[in-house]
């Protein structure tokens, strides 16, 4: 490019550090300090993308987070590529690779551009109307729409970057490091408050820092010079923590806020190694000050979206901050004084300004007078009616407005321009305020919504609350901050501010054209391609609520959340329906304010840190012995121990056979354990379990079933009486925490009179369960002095013995139906006692078995597993466990519900056994059970809950819940599968050893 678009500006851009980057395959250069947008503009590139629906060429429009068009794909790596990055926000680094989105096959020749000519066929609601009905059409269109629309590519590989989370607490959080935020920070710090100051750019100072006109003065200094001194002062202030490149993502209730800090995105890729990419701050602030500033509004006129049409404030920033001219033939189109600052900047930098078009009749402020004195042509009471230039604006047509401002008169004037700087006034950034639940009020003078009521300890200052002129911004920020912090005096009280004051105001939401509206394209939402016409169409079709209009036209629904467009949409609705804008209300802004990458949200909680997992003290032994693990809650439990390439089925068959024929050993450490003490412990057990506990003797164990208050089975387990007023309760592995909470709840809230204390001791003990006909011999080898006779140590009893210095609690209880001992030791001895059992059991082929074999062994005995055979809708009666419901007890949790009309229904689903007619056919857990396959719809009678092949019985067995199951014993039923129907017979739930003889070895 031969055009000289760089002006000499060494202040913010380092021209000694040249950086190369690649845009759509072409190598270009910029400087350190550039954004990608300023670097592109310095290469005379405006056209960066295509619009979403009509695929119209679009250029860089802004210089900040409100950018609707310059949304690029950064990086070309499958893992590191980032879609939807605003070129105006990303700092240029050496080697940056970026590509346009929304273009297929390329930004300059775009097939979707044909939509632009078809646009009369693509009105608001087009997608709803066409593709959603009939529904089957959608599938056909979707492929083409996705391909030609698209919003960037997601990375397809795992994100290799590192992200971090950090909590922060402060007295005062200040969001936005512009002049008002800086003043507030200083006032708060001088009052000895701990201040956290967030700024989303790399430098503090906001727009005042590059202000370069001679009219604005603070304490008789150039305003930017005054501000630089304040910033130096603040940087050395110990009370103020400054986080730059940090943008607020979400403002939640109780002043809880999330902010994202970019740590490496501005570095060249090679400099990022082993560094944290982004950090999410979780901030709890006593008070919050919002000083996020304002964003400039565009104007809405025919063809207002061509590349080269930019916000006037952005044109000014590119010149004064980045030293980049956006064009060589500039025209300004405004309705207010602020664009005249752009005029002065253009003039000062020696950039050609062809004309200013102002819809007002005149303006007599100091700044406008200065521009007038420079001899720049100003067209008062004129508007732009059309623009020309497909990939870059090259001409505009202007006409005079009539008295009402709703039509144009006179003859057309054509002006050359390659950059049209537009300003439609300013909108306070109230997004965070509304996110936090604050209510807005409408200011008729400036046509803006400003913060009104809030429940939180927060304050909005500066242009974020609607002050736009320097003296108002400073003086009100000082006054409001002092009041908010209850401070009498500050060092800013005598501040002297001089600035130009705007006297004439005029605003037209939809500017008239010489063509009828139906023949024009006045864009509102550039990203979603919605025009003023779409809003009017929605209103004609009967949409009234602004939220509905928004969804129907998709205005404000892009990744920029319509930061530019929302006010015009509201204004046009208000004008069309003759409503006051204040009565319409605004749409809701939702977090995040700017998009967050998933990595930032999850932080370090990925991979093995996604969730904690709990390991038993014997875990390493299981790993060494080739165990496969399953997740039970947060526990890793040994599932089965395959030998020599065994399948799970083979391993389980072998393990269960060994347990029945000689001996097996299970790690039962994960079972929940609750230590219960107190003089009312026995009464407490009577209230929480369905069965009676009064007669349980010291040293004895009892199985208990616990219900919810609705009568449904909640948990089960064995409780042992360790001493007078001292019990050890076991719960299911998965239910431990819930049972503990539930029992605490009853103790604290319903029965505070009971003298009972609960302590979770799950992690304190390790449990090795040795079972099988040879279990007694093995235990005897380890505990030589222990009397294991049935008289001294019968089933369901407990002994406390010592092995050296180790206290061992041994319970003779059984979940397999075999003679079985559970040895509980302090967790740190778990692996020792386990290895001791393995060693002692060697001669009896002691076989470690996992949860799968445990499930099979207990199913053979018809023992339920809460959560597998029950699902929160099963009463003990449904489970055919009537025997465990005490008839004598007046009350226990859930008792009253057992005779509600619904729970006593005979046709409830009940637990039964199922035997397949073909003994080798194993049912699938979850499979449905039916009686008649042919009657449609098929009646679903129940489903299989547990199913195994029993090596001992040499046949398949299953448990199931079945409607009226108790009555159906012997009945032939069907289990239809996808490729066959399996014949089954309803049976008893106990398949093995109905007489319970094996329990004694």
């Amino acid at each position: 490019m031969s055009k000289n678009l760089r002006i000499n500006n060494k202040q913010f851009v380092d021209e000694t550090r040249k950086l190369s980057f690649i845009f759509n395959g072409k190598k270009l250069y910029g400087y350190k300090g550039d954004t990608l947008a300023s670097a592109l503009l310095s290469n005379d590139i405006h056209l960066v993308g295509r619009s979403f629906k009509y695929h119209r060429p679009r250029g860089i429009m802004t210089s900040g987070s409100e950018e609707p068009n310059a949304i690029l794909q950064i990086g070309n790596d499958d893992a590191l590529t980032d879609p939807n990055v605003r070129a105006t926000e990303i700092e240029l680094y050496d080697g940056l690779i970026c590509n346009s989105q929304n273009c297929w096959p390329s930004v300059k020749f775009d097939i979707g551009g044909i939509n632009n000519f078809l646009s009369p066929l693509l009105p608001a609601g087009f997608y709803y109307k066409t593709f959603m009905w009939p529904a089957s059409f959608w599938e056909k269109y979707e492929y083409f729409i996705r391909k030609s629309a698209g919003l960037g590519k997601s990375p397809t590989k795992q994100d290799p970057d590192m992200y971090d989370h950090r909590y922060m607490h402060c007295d005062i959080l200040i969001v936005g490091g512009g002049v008002s935020g800086l003043i507030a920070a200083k006032i708060a710090s001088d009052d000895n408050k701990k201040v956290l100051l967030l700024e989303d750019k790399e430098l503090l100072g906001g727009s005042l820092i590059y202000d370069d006109n001679d009219i604005s003065k603070i304490d008789n200094q150039k305003s930017s010079e005054w501000l630089k001194k304040l910033i130096e002062n603040i940087k050395n202030d110990k009370n103020i923590i400054i986080k730059t490149r940090t943008s607020l993502a979400a403002y939640h209730n109780y002043n809880f806020l999330l902010a994202r800090q970019n740590l490496t995105d501005h570095l060249s890729v090679n400099d990022r190694n082993n560094k944290i990419r982004q950090r999410l701050y979780k901030i709890r602030a006593k008070k919050v000050i919002i000083s996020t500033g304002a964003i400039e509004r565009p104007q809405v006129f025919h063809n207002n979206d061509r590349p080269g049409i930019m916000l006037a404030s952005a044109v000014k920033k590119y010149i004064d901050y980045y030293g980049v001219r956006c064009g060589l033939e500039n025209v300004i189109f405004t309705n207010n004084d602020s664009a005249y600052e752009t005029a002065l900047s253009l003039h000062k930098s020696g950039t050609k300004l062809n004309a200013i078009i102002d819809i007002r009749d005149n303006s007599s402020s100091e700044i406008v007078n200065k521009v007038k004195s420079l001899g720049i042509q100003i067209y008062w009471n004129h508007t732009v009616v059309n623009t020309k230039g497909y990939k870059r604006i090259n001409k505009i047509t202007i006409m005079k407005l009539n008295d009402k401002g709703n039509d144009v008169v006179g003859k057309k004037i054509e002006l050359n321009c390659d950059c049209l700087a537009i300003s439609g006034g300013w909108t306070p950034m109230v997004h965070l305020f509304t996110q936090s639940g604050g209510k807005l009020k409408f200011d008729n003078k400036d046509n803006i919504f400003v913060p009104d009521k809030t429940n939180l300890n927060q304050l909005s200052i500066g242009s974020a609350k609607g002050d736009f002129e320097l003296d108002d911004v400073l003086k009100n920020s000082i006054k409001d901050t002092k009041k908010f912090l209850q401070i009498e005096n500050s060092n800013f009280d005598k501040i002297d501010v001089k600035c130009s004051k705007e006297k004439e105001k005029k605003n037209i939401w939809l500017l008239p054209s010489d063509k009828p509206l139906s023949k024009t394209k006045p864009f509102l939402d550039y990203q979603n391609d919605s025009t003023a016409k779409d809003i009017k169409l929605a209103l004609r079709e009967g949409f009234k609520s602004i939220e509905h209009v928004k969804r129907y036209t998709t205005t404000g629904m892009g990744t920029d959340q319509g930061k530019l467009a929302n006010m015009h949409a509201l204004g046009i609705v208000a004008d069309t329906t003759n409503t006051n804008m204040g009565d319409l209300g605004t749409t809701t802004f939702r977090p995040p304010y700017t998009p967050l990458t998933f990595g930032t949200i999850v932080g370090r909680n990925v991979g093995q840190f996604f969730d904690i997992f709990r390991k038993t003290p014997m875990h390493e032994w299981h790993v060494e012995n080739n165990a496969k693990f399953e997740n039970v809650g947060q526990w890793k439990r040994a599932w089965y121990y395959p030998k020599d390439g065994e399948t799970m089925h083979d391993a389980v068959q072998r393990e269960s056979k060994a347990a029945r024929e000689s001996s097996g050993i299970l790690d039962a450490s994960t079972l929940g354990k609750i230590d219960i003490q107190g003089t009312d412990a026995n009464e407490f057990l009577n209230r929480v379990y369905t069965n009676a506990w009064s007669k349980l003797q010291i040293g004895k164990c009892r199985y208990g079933l616990m219900l919810n208050e609705d009568g449904m089975v909640y948990d089960d387990g064995v409780t042992t009486k360790l001493g007078e007023n001292h019990y050890l309760m076991t719960t299911t592995t998965g239910g431990a925490a819930n049972v503990m909470s539930k029992l605490e709840d009853y103790l604290q809230t319903e029965w505070p009179e009971l003298d009972v204390f609960l302590t979770s001791v799950t992690d304190h003990y390790a449990t090795a369960s040795v079972c099988g006909p040879n279990a007694k011999k093995i235990i005897n080898k380890i505990f030589k002095d222990l009397d294991l006779s049935d008289e001294s140590f019968p089933h369901m009893s407990f002994k406390e013995v010592k092995l050296g210095n180790i206290n061992c609690r041994i319970m003779r209880i059984s979940f397999t139906g075999e003679l079985s001992y559970e040895i509980n030791v302090e967790a740190s001895y778990g692996k020792y006692i386990w290895e001791k059992c393995i060693e002692a059991g060697k001669e009896f082929n002691i076989t470690p078995y996992g949860t799968e074999t445990m499930h099979l062994l207990r199913a053979e005995k018809g023992f339920i597993i809460v959560g597998q055979d029950t699902d929160g809708t099963m009463t003990p009666v449904d489970l055919q466990m009537d025997w465990i419901i005490s008839k004598k007890k007046y009350d226990f949790i859930g008792k009253r519900s057992l005779y509600r009309s619904d729970t006593i229904r005979e046709d409830r689903k009940q637990l039964v056994g199922l035997l397949t007619d073909d003994p080798n056919e194993i049912l699938e857990e979850g499979a449905q059970i039916v009686k008649d396959e042919n009657k449609k719809p098929v009646d679903m009678l129940g489903h299989v809950t547990s199913s195994y092949f029993s090596p001992t019985l040499k046949k398949s067995i299953a448990l199931a819940v079945l409607k009226e199951g108790k009555r159906l014993k012997g009945q032939k039923l069907l289990v239809p599968m996808i490729d066959k129907t399996i014949k089954v017979t309803v049976s008893d739930t106990i398949f093995l050893d109905k007489e319970n003889e094996r329990i004694n070895g």
């Binding site: 209730n253 809880f256 639940g437 208050e709 609705d710 605490e744 319903e750 505070p752």
Partner: protein, 91 residues
Amino acid sequence: MFLINCPYCGERDQSEFVSGGEAHIARPKQPTELNDDQWAEYLFMRKNIKGIQFERWNHAHGCRKWFNVARDTSNDKIEKIYKMGEQPPKL
């Protein structure tokens, strides 16, 4: 994310607490005396109001104590926190 003032520990982040639903629903002392409708009233029926709601909270990842909270459901403002067994405040 609320900031909840546990009456035993002080202000803590909401993530340390669990909510236990509507407060001041005492378990009937003599459930067997109740007919199905009366029992169902205790078991199932809960209010869902806009405005001040009295509810139970548990400092589950802290002192494990239950306590009562008067919360305005329209803006989540906690108006009062009081211990189990105390009467609801007049608000």
